[in-house]
Amino acid sequence: MTDKAKVRAQAERLQAFFTGAGARVVEADILQPAETLLDLYGEDIRARAYVTSDPLRGEMMLRPDFTVPVVQQQMAEGTATGAVTYMGEVFRKQEHEGARASEYIQVGYETFGDADEEAAEAKVFALFDEVLSPLSLRAATGDIGILMAAVEGLSTSDRRKAALKRHLWRPRRFRALLDRYGGRSPVPETRTRLLEKARKQGAAAVADAAGPAIGLRSRAEVTARIEALLADAAEPPISGNEVAILDHILSLRETSVNALEQLRDIAVDLPNIAPAVTRMDRRLEALSGQGIDVYALDFEASYGRTTMEYYDGFVFGFYAEARLDLPPVATGGRYDALTRVLGQGRCLPAVGGVVRPELVLTLTEEAGQ
């Protein structure tokens, strides 16, 4: 067990680094309304966060991260832009026994409203890179924006694209959908029968005959989905060529400069990703400008796909290669979409990351021995 006072001192050192880089200090409540977090993250967060009940405020959670309260503050303050830093405990319930902590300190740096988005991303990455440099960690980077643009660029219906984008963060389900839309997995027999019936009798008649309408999901909603299934069945499959391109992107693991070259080639066949590739190009230039060696920097197109689904652009993480049992020392990325969800109609460009001082301390002590 690492000494808590030492961890706190380490956290303060890290935060001082971020304030030195121009961030102002913000605080967040430990007790957060469960509803917002549940609505955002879904049922999974209930498995991971400590839920408690407040007689007046209802279900509350011990904050599982700072992102939501910090973004809410920024959005509430209206024109709040610039960089902020925070420091404090987060709480994560562990359902499996092991070394993972259920309470630990995070130090974060987030920047909002930067007009030059790639410059902001490069700056955030470079800050974490600099403060972690004595630990010689491996940096991983990715770009969810490229994946989204690739899905958006498929020649298929908007409904299919929306379904694929929704499951971008669940690789297995994404694969199953892609196989279905690509005609590579068979249509379930019950589906075939339903569609035959609906073609003969009409969607509404099939819905009417199914059973007494109970519950909130109305007959109209059932009918609408049957009609959507009929329309989808009439869609041609996504071409093998496009599926292959998507697979190529998903499996792309290269140094950043080589990855960019490959993505440029891919953009010839899938022009929709070109703007995202241009952004990556600009980001790499900005990173170079910050002194990052982009010829050595790893890029993994699928990186960030299994973490929480609010990142929607550049993503990064720092790992101790000699200690793969440890969680990443720092992670971060761009999350504009989250500001839109929490901003009630408004949104702000937002990019940032968090570092775990306890891991920094552990690795520093190990390196010293």
């Binding site: 379904a163 499951h167 007494p212 989905r225």
Partner: protein, 232 residues
């Protein structure tokens, strides 16, 4: 020092448990008055019978306060995080069969699989502004199952009884509950998803990995295991 065997304290589950042990030449008995929760084990020495609510047996096994226990596998899987590290399943006992399943209104002609449920949940959230509600008391099992299947945009709402009625009462859109014949589901106009089997439960003899196995308990267990024909 005795080896403690926890069995359900009442009802069919208790009777069937007694029958199962008797079938292996070990006689379990309630002692004292009808209402007193006390029991005895005949046939193997040094074993104490502890009568407990079936719902509490998983917790007692995990804490190591009983050495052996009979309860439904659904309860062990649901109530004990990382149960394999604390408890070992010794023998399925062939009764108390119940399936934990996911069911939706029969009126949902468009929903037959988890895939459909996921798509319906996405549309439901868009139309109603909140996540599709699934009523259950098996939160852990259902959540892990749905996570594995990649179903999103749902929420679990707690229902400790009469779960099949929640859809009609507008407190949930779907249910995840235990069924053996499916009759209650049918009576409430619900149908089981074709790939909606979360867990196939039956009464099972479990062994605690955390109990004190010293002081002759290991030997007592081996004698009992030999009699029961289970792998110690």
């Amino acid at each position: 020092m005795t080896l403690k065997l926890g069995v359900p304290s009442k009802g069919r589950l208790m009777e069937k448990t007694f029958e199962w042990f008797a079938g292996h030449g070990v006689v379990l008995k309630r002692t004292g008055s009808d209402r007193e929760y006390a029991g005895a084990v005949e046939g193997v020495d040094g074993i104490e019978l502890v009568l407990l609510s079936a719902g509490e047996i998983p917790r007692e096994l995990a804490a190591g306060r009983i050495h052996l226990g009979v309860t439904g596998s659904d309860l062990v899987h649901e109530k004990i995080a990382d149960w394999e590290g604390k408890i070992r399943a010794l023998a399925p006992m062939g009764f108390g069969h119940a399936d934990l399943i996911i069911a939706v209104p029969k009126a949902w002609a468009d929903v037959d699989t988890l895939d459909d449920l996921d798509a319906a949940a996405a549309a439901f959230r868009r139309d109603h502004g909140f996540r599709l509600r699934i009523a259950t008391k098996y939160h852990r099992l259902v959540r892990e199952f749905l996570r594995g299947a990649g179903v999103a945009d749902y929420q679990l709402v707690d229902s400790q009884g009469a779960t099949e009625g929640t859809v009609k009462n507008l407190t949930a859109e779907a249910v995840a509950d235990i069924t053996s014949t499916g009759e209650t589901l049918r009576a409430n106009h619900l149908k089981i998803l074709s790939d909606g089997l979360v867990h196939k439960s039956q009464a099972t003899l479990f062994k605690s990995r955390r109990a004190d196995w010293e002081g002759g308990n290991r030997e007592r267990f081996q004698a009992l295991a030999a009699r029961l024909g289970v792998d110690g």
